[in-house]
């Protein structure tokens, strides 16, 4: 009998070893509270503290729920979340970026019924974000931040070059004229971008060309977009006001700006206060330069939703309501972490920013901002932009040919 016991023991041990492979989206804590994990991208220790505070505050307010943060870097977040959603190991609360809603929606719970049941007033949120976080006429997340893409500038460099700082609503011609004066002594006016949201905004502002149409469909062969991209590429290869790209690197433009190597950078309000805190120069903001037929910018933001695997969707929604409530979003705005998606809380962020012109720029940019639609192939487009735009920006291929190559690789 001993040998059978031994074999059984070995089998049991093996199975114990395998139990670590399972996962659950919610459970109970020792004191009877509903335990809930919240997946969120985290940009560093400060960011981690911010979000942990939100988790603790909401847990304390609700009393019967204990929220734990599951942080990952932004770059890895969407790969990790897609994998978790498909393998039934996703947490209850899931963060999603507006332009990636369509990609995650199959694993997420439509919130419309819960919104009705809880009488949540959606009109208190920025309407473009409610649209941005919806897909197939269903709302998948409640927004926490919002922001139009805009232009950050280095005021010290403008002053040193004797160029007047740009005013909201400036034109593409004014931008190029200023850029030429700012490019000298190894410094450039602006570094090229390969990040989808930013480069698409730049083209939209220049000539209105877009790959992602208003109805969410994707057309990478759009000739107007190719023309706009050629203008962007010419800033490097013809006008020489931008440096060459050292390979596909979505952070290159922001890094060059922070290092004081360029005078401008295209970015969103979500990074403004972090930039202001870290920059060794005076930061200013203005709208993206508008060309003929352009003048608009994309707005994007993020929100939090509930995964389909969540065993306690009602409790999760109660947590979501609190997380996107006036109190939490007001605190996040005042701390400078997020330009609140609740319009009533936005002034707190603007007051905290302390950057001259930020209110006017936001007002002007928001007036012309359109939500960046989401598409199931957005990630693929973003990846292809990062790989292929290098060729048009560095002058190895025309923008039209680059877009043709990209279009050929996107699923039709």
């Amino acid at each position: 009998m001993r040998k059978e016991a031994l074999v059984a023991g070995a089998l049991a041990l093996s199975l114990i070893g395998l139990t670590g492979c399972g996962g659950s989206s919610s459970g109970s804590t020792a004191d009877g509270k509903t335990a809930m994990t919240w997946a969120m991208w985290v940009g560093g220790t400060e960011d981690q503290k911010n979000w942990e505070k939100v988790a603790d505050d909401v847990s304390n307010t609700l009393g019967d729920v204990k929220i734990t943060l599951q942080g990952s870097t932004f770059q890895d977040y969407f790969t990790k979340m897609s994998t978790q959603l498909s393998s039934n190991t996703a947490p209850c609360l899931v963060a999603v970026q507006s332009l990636r809603t369509a990609q995650l929606k199959d694993g997420m719970l439509p919130l419309d019924d819960l919104v009705k049941k809880n009488n949540l007033d959606l009109s208190a949120f920025d309407s473009s974000m409610i649209k941005g976080l919806s897909a197939d006429n269903n709302l998948y997340a409640l927004p926490y931040d919002v922001g139009p893409v805009m232009m950050f500038y280095n005021k010290d460099m403008f002053d040193a070059a004797g160029v007047p700082v740009p005013k909201a609503g400036w034109t593409a011609d004014e931008f190029v004229a200023a850029a030429k004066k700012l490019t000298a002594n190894g410094k450039h006016a602006i570094a090229p971008n390969t990040a989808d949201l930013l480069v698409e905004s730049q083209v939209l502002a220049y000539n209105g060309g877009r790959v992602l149409k208003e109805d969410g469909t994707m057309d990478a062969s759009d000739p107007t977009f190719a023309k706009g991209l050629q203008w962007v590429s010419d800033l490097t290869s013809k006008e020489k006001v931008s440096p060459e790209l050292p390979g596909g690197d979505t952070a290159f433009s922001a890094n060059e700006y922070m290092a004081g190597n360029t005078a401008m950078s295209i970015d969103g309000p979500w990074s403004l206060l972090d930039v202001k805190a870290k920059a060794k120069f005076k930061v200013g903001v203005t709208t993206l330069p508008a060309g003929p037929g352009g003048g608009k910018t994309f707005s994007a933001g993020s929100g939090w939703g509930i995964s389909k695997q969540c065993a306690t969707p009602d409790k999760a929604f109660a947590a979501l309501k609190e997380m996107t409530g006036d109190k939490v979003l007001g605190n996040l705005a005042a701390a400078g972490r997020a330009l609140a998606a609740r319009t009533a809380q936005q002034t707190k962020w603007i007051d905290n920013a302390g950057i001259p012109g930020v209110a006017e720029t936001l007002k002007s940019a928001e007036a012309t901002a359109v939500p960046m639609p989401s598409n199931t192939n957005s990630d693929q487009l973003g990846q292809l932009f990062n790989q292929y735009l290098v060729k048009s920006i560095n002058g190895q291929q025309s923008a039209a040919d680059v877009m043709k190559d990209i279009a050929a690789q996107l699923p039709r």
Partner: protein
């Protein structure tokens, strides 16, 4: 040792007791008990192998015949994914890039590692320190190495800066130019990867019996002849091992293009494993990714088989 004793003890009884049926039955039982120990101890590892290695292999083969989105319902495609890959010019380019990487990287790696191993003879003062220094890139995380190399390669970086101050000429935009990017990745990979083979070759060279080289020297052979005709032949099993392992890992190259270039400019540095990663985890097409993985497996299997067949001509095991 205590476990072995009861297993060994019955052996003489088995031969002595063959005449008695009862005794034979007992020894059969003992034998049976003995034969159960092996599987019992192998079971945990066997289960791990079955669940974490064999099962995923079988599942990936099954998935490769489906349109299998990460989220959503799979649908059967038959050979559809394979047909798509074989007719996709980008996948063709990706396979070509991988082969180009292998063709450039493997010989360079072997020449550098063998050259340094030959140089690091016991006569070199501080050879152990050199060995450690040369081995450091192999044990440093590739991500950290890549970040440093990016700073060397970028315009205005170390190479460009040095060249400009010395000659006034700018270096090429190594990672931003499709004609240079693959070469840049190969050079970085050789620096990162030669240490392991160097250590293997160095140990093999140390094991070459001195009496053979001494005898050759007495017969008038010079250092080059001794290296070429004696040492190289005696360490050929190690060279074969190094070649095999380097070939297999170089077909699986991923981290360097993933971090340095993301496969660009265009698809100039996109390799098969990077393609698999993008299809599977960026674009959520697990079926296509699995099919590409099986194509890679067949390529590696084929190349390995050819190597094994070819080794008879140049590998000497009878030293």
């Amino acid at each position: 040792m205590t476990l072995l004793k009861p297993a060994k003890a019955p052996l003489p009884e088995v031969t002595a007791a063959t005449a008695s049926g009862k005794a034979k039955a007992e020894t059969d039982a003992q034998l049976g008990r003995r034969t159960m120990w092996g599987p019992a101890f192998a079971l945990p590892h066997g289960l791990g192998l079955a669940i974490f290695t064999l099962l995923p292999i079988v599942v990936s083969l099954v998935i490769s015949f489906f349109r299998w989105p990460l989220l959503g319902t799979p649908s059967f495609l038959g050979l559809g994914n394979y047909e798509k890959l074989f007719s996709d010019p980008i996948f063709g380019q990706v396979v070509g890039n991988t082969v180009l990487f292998v063709v450039l990287y493997v010989p360079l790696n072997l020449v550098v590692s063998l050259g340094l191993a030959a140089w690091l003879t016991p006569r070199i003062k501080g050879r152990h320190i050199f060995r450690v220094i040369f081995f450091i890139p192999s044990i440093t995380p590739v991500v950290a190495n890549v970040v440093v190399w990016r700073m060397l390669y970028q315009p205005g970086g170390f190479i460009d800066g040095t060249l400009q101050s010395a000659t006034g000429i700018s270096a090429p935009n190594f990672l931003g130019d499709e004609h240079w990017a693959m070469m840049a990745i190969v050079v970085m990979s050789v620096w990162q990867g030669f240490g392991y083979n160097m250590l293997v070759f160095s140990a093999a060279l140390d094991a070459v019996p001195e009496n053979l080289t001494e005898a050759a020297a007495i017969d008038g052979a010079n250092a080059w002849t001794i290296f070429w005709r004696i040492k190289l032949k005696l360490i050929s099993p190690s060279i074969f091992f190094g070649t095999m392992m380097t070939l297999i890992t170089s077909f699986q190259v991923f981290a360097q293009p993933f971090i340095l270039t993301k496969g660009g400019p265009g698809s100039a540095t996109s390799t098969i494993v990077l393609y698999i990663y993008n299809q599977g985890f960026q674009f959520h097409q697990l079926g296509l990714a699995s099919a590409a993985a099986w194509i890679l497996f067949v390529i590696i299997l084929g190349v390995t088989a050819v190597q094994f067949l070819g080794q008879k001509k140049w590998v000497h095991y009878d030293a």
